[in-house]
């Protein structure tokens, strides 16, 4: 899998209770792209992301990661390639200390203790959580948990980074820092967010979901200047594109 292309073909997903969450989603994301997926609450963003590492299986349609379809055999490899940060950090932290949690993945990759140590230290440094390493995750604040959850994925050095609302619950400084960190990540990244300014700043491509369908797919500038689309999808212009509240100029 040299080229980490993510390809979805006519993806449908219906939850067991009959909710149609994805209704024919198709797109291709090529290597190194930074893609923001936006849309109203319940549009199907989280559902979509959960397909990318095989947690949910499509009701119909196909997903290929680096030209490999997701099957039972390829799943372990796919999960190593796709690093996934969940919406709720509590789902991601399960070891007795932060260190253990961040080291969990590298150990499973079969690295030597010295190499694991190095990865843990660098991953924690990237999210400025080095001082938390010996704390139990359940004693952290929400934002700290989020940062550690991100470190657990970074320590795996994935080729595709998938994040569900990464800046949710972070303080402004931590948000800035995370955005810097994501800029430094040069492989493919795909994330959902309601933080439209972040999407504006980090993405070269935006996919708008609405009721399980792709409503629009284009550059941030195209998407955010289409007022009709934004209203229809319960979105608005990022603050950076709105007029200045003091002087009214753009």
């Amino acid at each position: 899998m040299s080229h980490h292309i993510v390809e979805l073909k006519e993806l449908h997903h219906t939850y067991p209770d009959g909710t149609v969450a994805l209704d024919g989603v198709s797109f291709t994301i090529t290597h190194g792209e930074s893609v923001g997926i936006i849309g109203a609450n319940g549009a199907g963003k989280s559902t979509l992301l959960l397909h990318l590492n095989g947690y949910l299986a499509p009701t119909s349609g196909e997903i290929e990661i680096g030209h490999t379809p997701i099957t039972k055999e390829t799943l372990p490899e796919i999960r190593r390639t796709v690093g996934m940060v969940f919406q709720d950090p509590d789902d991601q932290l399960f070891m007795p200390t932060v260190y253990d949690d961040v080291a969990f993945g590298p150990f499973n990759l079969g690295l030597t203790p010295a190499a694991v140590e190095e990865r843990v230290t660098s991953a924690l440094a990237k999210v400025e959580a080095g001082h938390l390493r010996d704390k139990p995750p359940y004693h952290l604040s929400g934002g700290e948990k989020k940062r550690v959850a991100i470190a657990t994925v970074l320590s795996m050095e994935p080729s595709i980074l998938v994040m569900d609302e990464p800046t949710n619950g972070l303080d402004p400084h931590a948000r800035r820092q995370l955005m810097g960190l994501m800029k430094d990540f040069h492989h493919t990244k795909i994330f959902t967010s309601h933080d439209l300014d972040m999407v504006m700043e980090l993405c070269d491509r935006v996919i708008v979901l609405g009721r399980g369908k792709v409503k629009a797919d284009g550059t941030p500038l195209e998407i955010f200047s289409n007022q009709q689309l934004l209203t229809e999808c319960r979105l608005e212009k990022p603050l950076s594109m709105q007029g200045c509240p003091v002087c009214g100029k753009n």
Binding site: Q92, P96, Y99, D100, F107, N108, P113
Partner: protein, 270 residues
């Protein structure tokens, strides 16, 4: 509910104690598991009226707690937490079994009381040694040791998940109970009916969360094995630890020390 929540949270401290750095902590988990298992077997194998012979066994947990630099009062409090359950199990013995078995000065002690205290002592000893093992080793390492000692891997993993999900369950439970309490405005909520749905909800939520935690583990390459930073080998220290304690404990069990000492100081007791 919040107090149960707190008590469980406090249990997690056991996991943290396992990060200590004494000779006992560094010992391979298998050695500690084997000796603890032998200890439990020997303690449990005593006759139901046996009490005095059990006391010397307290040396084992106490020695480990001291050498492992563990907080004694914390572990004692954790053991006390379990005492009510044991008392419920054993409390009918004195009512059923009234035959007098022992005279201690003016006190006549019935077989029922004797077996009640025997159960209590045995529980304290076994639970105490299990806690000590956990505090010296940590649950994941214990599971791994069990697996290395021949327990089928699926069982070892089940055990591990069971342990994790107990925490998940209590956390979810604490949250749900808090939400219910806040919205019932000091009244009794909606009584037993809302409590039923709350429990049902709780199980579903725990299930879902457990599934998400599992996927988080899988997506970080979990293949059924738990690795830990401390790879320990079974070496000479382990052998000495096992042999030393085994011989000592077997002596305690089959050569009745307390009776020996007792007969020296007090004359003969049954």
């Amino acid at each position: 509910m919040s107090s149960i929540d707190g008590a469980i949270l406090d249990f997690k401290r056991l996991d943290l104690l396992a990060f200590g750095d004494t000779a006992l902590h560094r010992l391979d988990a298998r050695a500690k598991v084997i000796v603890t298992a032998l200890f439990v077997m020997l303690v449990v194998s005593h006759d139901r009226y046996q009490l005095a012979a059990l006391f010397p066994f307290v040396i084992f947990p106490v020695a480990l707690i001291a050498a492992g630099n563990l907080p004694f009062t914390y572990i004692a409090r954790k053991i006390l937490l379990l005492c009510p359950f044991v008392i419920v199990v054993g409390i009918f013995n004195p009512l059923i079994d009234r035959a007098i078995l022992l005279h201690l000065g003016p006190f006549a002690i019935s077989g029922g009381w004797l077996s009640f205290f025997s159960i209590l002592t045995r529980s304290i000893l076994t639970v105490g040694s299990a806690f000590t093992l956990l505090a010296l080793t940590g649950f994941p390492a214990v599971c791994r040791a069990l697996e290395q000692l021949g327990m089928p891997r699926p069982f070892a993993i089940q055990l591990l998940f069971l342990y994790r999900y107990i925490f998940v369950l209590t956390e979810e439970g604490g949250r749900a109970a808090r939400a219910r309490q806040l919205r019932s405005c000091g009244k009794k909520g909606m009584g037993i009916r809302s409590f039923g749905t709350l429990i049902g909800n709780l199980l579903l939520r725990t299930w879902q969360r457990a599934e998400r935690v599992h996927i988080a583990m899988l997506s970080r390459g979990f293949d059924g094995r738990f690795h830990s930073g401390r790879e320990t080998k079974f070496g000479r220290n382990e052998l000495v630890f096992i042999c030393g304690w085994s011989i000592f404990l077997l002596l305690l069990r089959f050569v009745d020390l307390s009776q020996l000492i007792g007969s020296i100081f007090l004359g003969r007791l049954p």
